[in-house]
Amino acid sequence: MAAATAHSALVGGEVSHDVPGRAGFRGTLRSEFTKIRSVRSTYWTLLALVVVCVGIGGLFAWGQAQRLASLRSGTTFGGRVLPHAQAVALLAQRIAYVRSAAVSISLFGLLIGQLVIVVLGALVITSEYSTGMIRTSLTTMPRRATLLAAKGTVFAAVALVTGLVTSFLAFFVGQAILATQHVSATLGTPGALRQVIGGGLFLAVCGMLSFGLGAMLRHTAGAIAAGIGLLFVLLILSNFLPSPPSGWFGQADIDKWIPFYAGAHIWQDQMTGVNPFSPWVGFGVFCAYAAAAIGGGLFLFLRRDA
């Protein structure tokens, strides 16, 4: 098909009006990438994510290293002098613990970092509603499923890349600190690579869960509150609720369904009091939660007035 062009004296230039094909996913993907990279809030939240995860992980690793250093010099972390035999026993015990948890310790900041990516995931969609931009967006790309898919894809990619960078950075910084006490892990340590990559995946899926909630609720504060509620408040609540009567299933069997426990086992090996799913199964459950939120968001987005 020859592309005919109409020249408009007033509007200037030439815009082809007989172009084959149709406006679709690829162009919308480019558009959504332009959107996300052209607002400052994206950079601030991503920077906050890195700082929080790496900073808190590094701090936690430093604390553990200091504890070991104290024990090596025969005192507690607080400076109390211990009997020699007790210090040696405690040191051995601590070294074994820190060695086994070295990766989890360095990734500890993800516990807070998940809340930061929740903010960005929600903002990506709710800011279109709070500014009214959604009406302009839907006028230029009225195929709603295409618009939401492109938006979700761009955010998922940004969240995954940033999540992985964050996770690896937190790992290396944390291990460098633990290495001062010779208790660090390497990427070759069994399970370490899975945990570090898993940390990036976990952050990305946290963001997607929040994105789905944002599409459903359309309000920034509401979506962030819901995201934090699901990821963080449920986790805290589970530690305060009474256990079910003995003889039934155990508390640990309920807890494993809590989004954080299901999703975090992939990067967090120490799960006291929980009888978790295996890392990848748990992560699958976590992804299913996010998929449900996104599915709900899409369902409402297709049906509701904008």
């Binding site: 109409a6 480019r30 839907l138």
Partner: protein, 328 residues
């Protein structure tokens, strides 16, 4: 070309648009008139597919917006100039819109030049003044050089220079053969701009006609007459085929005759006149009466002071029923 068929939209208990059918033709400016809350914005949202009609259909170039291959190359709309992300620069705002329809980057530069925003293209558009925001919205609408353009109250809050700019732009677009659909709640705005009018009130169609027809139908001549023998004059005028309205203060309004004809008639019948003055209802008045009557018709609101008799001014136009033929 925009075509609406039995378009109806209900929000909860509010019937915002009620069984609207109309056609917006290319090559002219069609004014979409109605008082506040008449349903103009809602109708435009329905055209753009932002809202789903409760009943009826509306198409642009024969299709629903979401079925157009390249929506921006066919329809451009400015509904709300504030519907932008204030943290994004004007350039990136236009770029992200252009990309959805595979429009080239240079197109963004072109429309920025066209609306005169090149200097501030890199500024965050949240810092724009009202007029600049309006220009940005128009730039977005023009990006795809579409054949259909819709503007919702585009001159609201603009200074005279901005109003003139938009008016000339719309005229130029229509002269190029484009379909221009522009809403307003002021008749005076449309008098100088529109070629054709669609008037709605309370969500219903009141009139669809050319501006000339609207003027002809609504600026009907009337003559104010004061006489000590009002009954005689009424009878004589009625005999001559005119309509006469009695006012409480004893002033008669004769419709369908010129002042000279009324004077001659009085002379022939030996009726003394104390006052004889030709009067013309302004279009704004006619429009207000037209739409006020539709408000009354639907909501049973009490009529204002009672001095307006819509039946006399608009020639017996029934709300929702008058189409071009009946008006003329």
């Amino acid at each position: 070309m925009i075509e609406a068929q039995g378009l109806t939209k209900r929000y909860g208990g509010t019937l915002a648009v009620d069984d609207l059918s109309f056609t917006v033709e290319p090559g002219r400016i069609t004014g979409f008139l109605g008082p506040n809350g008449a349903g103009k914005t809602t109708t435009m949202r329905l055209i753009l597919g932002l809202d789903r009609p409760t009943r009826g259909t509306v198409t642009v170039n024969g299709r629903q917006l979401r079925d157009l291959a390249w929506p921006m190359r066919e329809v451009g709309a400015l509904l709300d100039a504030k519907a932008v992300h204030g943290g994004r620069s004007a350039y990136h705002h236009l770029l992200c819109l252009a990309q959805t329809n595979d429009l080239p980057r240079r197109r963004v530069e072109e429309v920025l030049d066209l609306v005169g925003l090149r200097e501030v293209a890199r500024k965050r558009c949240g810092e724009f003044s009202l007029g600049m925001g309006q220009r940005l919205g128009i730039a977005a609408a023009l990006l795809g050089d579409p054949s259909i353009l819709m503007f919702d109250e585009p001159v609201n809050g603009l200074d005279p220079e901005g109003i003139l700019w938009i008016r000339n732009l719309m005229k130029a677009l229509a002269a190029e053969g484009k379909t221009v659909f522009v809403s307003s709640h002021l008749m005076s705005e449309m008098e100088n701009t529109a070629d054709h009018l669609i008037v709605i009130g309370r969500g219903r169609l009141i009139a669809e006609c050319s501006v000339e027809e609207f003027i002809a139908a609504n600026s009907q001549q009337s003559v104010r007459v004061r006489t000590p023998q009002p009954d005689m004059l009424s009878a004589a005028a009625a005999g001559a085929g005119a309509t006469v309205r009695h006012d409480r203060s004893g002033v008669l309004t004769v419709l369908g005759m010129t002042a000279a004809q009324v004077g001659d008639l009085a002379f022939e019948h030996g009726i003394r006149l104390h006052e004889l003055a030709p009067a013309q209802a302004s279009l704004e008045e006619a429009f207000m009466e037209l739409t006020a009557s539709s408000v009354e018709f639907h909501a049973g609101l009490p009529r204002g002071a009672g001095q307006h008799e819509p039946a006399g001014v608009v020639g017996g136009m029934a709300p929702g029923a008058a189409r071009t033929g009946e008006v003329a």
